[in-house]
Subunit: 223 residues, 4 copies
């Protein structure tokens, strides 16, 4: 019956909304407290749902976090792929990528940090050993492959741009993967800056700064 269809549809819609709401609340909490320190109570407070309800939508705290990270990664990949396909010079696209990643990091606040840093939790959560390339011990989770795929996609997209820049003569002849590694490092590191920053940089200033150094380096060039 149509009626039932509609009702079901509405229900599903509602469900999706609730889930999204919980995810956002959780993201906020994880951002502020980190994975270990965040409690499901915190999240249920923030989401204004009971703890039991949280567990109706997600199997576990780690699943919840996992999904947040996965969403972030997916969104990041989408954007990065879009940028990489733009009809612009390699340098322009690199600049845009820097801008995107910096603003993305900033909006996702600590999620990326948590993902990259709370290694031991991540190992448990994702069943992956980030450091040691070790695959999951208990096979319940097939997640890590998904993650790795996304990360690889992102990495490849960036490599491709740089390679194109090299091919077109914009960039000097370097190993594209290494350049990409360096750019990734700069961005990660720039985002996770330590406790010392007298001056706060806007996204634009940060982009300019990273871009400038990544392209030109520090050394004086004879001209």
């Amino acid at each position: 019956m149509k009626k039932n269809d509609l009702r079901a549809e509405r229900k599903l819609q509602r469900k999706r909304e609730n889930k999204k709401f919980i995810l956002e609340a959780a993201e906020e909490v994880f951002s502020q407290k980190g994975y270990s320190q965040a409690t499901v109570d915190d999240i249920s407070d923030e989401a204004q749902f009971s703890k039991a309800t949280i567990y109706r939508y997600f199997n576990s705290k780690s699943d919840l976090f996992s999904e947040i990270v996965m969403d972030s990664f997916l969104e990041a990949r989408e954007n990065l792929l879009r940028i990489s396909k733009k009809n612009q010079s390699a340098a322009e696209r690199v600049e845009e990528i820097i801008h995107f990643i910096l603003s993305y990091f900033r909006s996702k606040k600590n999620i990326a940090r948590i993902f990259l840093m709370e290694r031991s939790s991540m190992k448990q959560i994702l069943g992956m050993d980030i450091d040691n390339h070790v695959m999951p011990i208990d096979s319940k989770q097939h997640i890590p492959d998904d993650y790795l795929k996304i990360i690889k996609d992102i990495f490849e997209a960036m490599c491709k741009i740089i390679q194109e820049g090299i091919d077109s003569g914009e960039f000097r002849e370097v190993d594209a993967r290494e350049a990409c590694l360096i750019l990734g490092a700069m961005l990660r590191g720039f985002n996770f800056k330590g406790p010392l920053h007298e001056k706060e940089y806007s996204i634009e200033q940060s982009t300019e700064l990273v871009y400038s150094f990544f392209l030109n380096g520090l050394k004086k060039t004879k001209d």
Copy 2:
């Protein structure tokens, strides 16, 4: 009496050794599990001392971690200041710094990572708000100032080298602090590399890579 002196000396020596042993065990555990996930039981297992004994040497889990971090920072500062005073070209010293930091990060494994990343725990532990430049609320701890001092010292030492390079014409005219920020970011980011690294780089290769990009940048220079 000589005899007593010797005995006392031996005892003191033993104490120092035990403390160091515990610190090393704790460093290992924290490295593997992060601060929050590491339990004092883990540490006591690793150190082969009872939990109560751990508490004879350290007042709390956070004190223990705090001391590890502080030791690391002190050691790092010492080395960095030594390097910065060497009678070499700025570029050479930059290279040496890169080499030192990369190998230091590697040896200290995740400690630096934990310090930089488990923000919320660190806030509690050190009484400092890393993100917001906020000074400690309760003055019981005078630690954060010590930490900031060390970090500042390190930063200044690196700035000075770069400024000298600029003054001597080795480097192009950039804001030394910004360059330093970028170098710091590269190193941090390079160390905290994500889950994707087909190729493992040796310290030497890593140094070469970071050094090369930091000095030369990516862009092709006309000549």
Copy 3:
């Protein structure tokens, strides 16, 4: 809806019952072991609830104890005030008060004893320094004032009766407060009787005994 109201009501009722049940279990345990020696595990065993559940109902062991004491005090005050307002001779009311307090002490077993005696624990728990009239150091707790208020109320009510007895010529002209102090002492002391009592007195016998001595004293009066 009626249905929901009923359900909510039942839930609330249940909650109250559970809380009361825990309080009773705790009272039993504290009575037997004293505050320091009683563990939350003991209480949870006695109450047949898990320890975590105990903590759902009470924030801490000290809160739990605190509530027991407060309840006792409130109940005592209520009864004493009621008695003091009765339309009877002062002597009759004194007798009734003695009876009430003795039976109350007996029913509350050691709670009063614990409150009066485990000073150092009480100081921490209630934030009050019983011995030195010192008010709480950290203002988080406003409890002690409540306690003192109740104790004062009780004391005043007793004083009033005695004063009335003096005014009416029933009692000899003494300082009412001092008489009250003595009566309080007798009751406390009689309850906290030492390890020597060949003969166990019933409440009625005890009342008679205390009453008789408090009113008549030991000395032979010439007649």
Copy 4:
């Protein structure tokens, strides 16, 4: 050999002194913190002896406390017996006893309170169940009999005085044991006065107060 005798004597003397010193320190600590809350560390700090040394002189924390209590009791008995044998009127001796006990309680501060009040600890310590006349479960300790003997001696001495007073016509014809019970209660209770005491009484004032009420009672006597 004489020389050895002297040395041994000196040693013994020293031992006695140390023991006494520890006992005093412990008394101080127990007085301030109660039995449960006092730690052996506290005592060793106060006594300026290492914890291990404390354990050379006493088998356990409870032994230590036990000995303090026993000493107090012995001293009390000695004094009370002495007073009871004095060649004075019963009333005079009662007054002296009141004075002695009040000042004794005050000097022993909380020890008596602890003994009387931290029942559960006492049960464990002395192997006696004060409330229920139950004899020790584990027979390791034969202490309770000693205690009971002393308490009984004290009680009997007091009874005897009162009986003498009755026989001589000083006191009215009451059950001497009951009168003694009441006096004991007044003294205990007066010492363990609650948190309400606007006015602090000197030993002399207290004695006068207790004496007056114990002998005369509250009721107006016709004359």
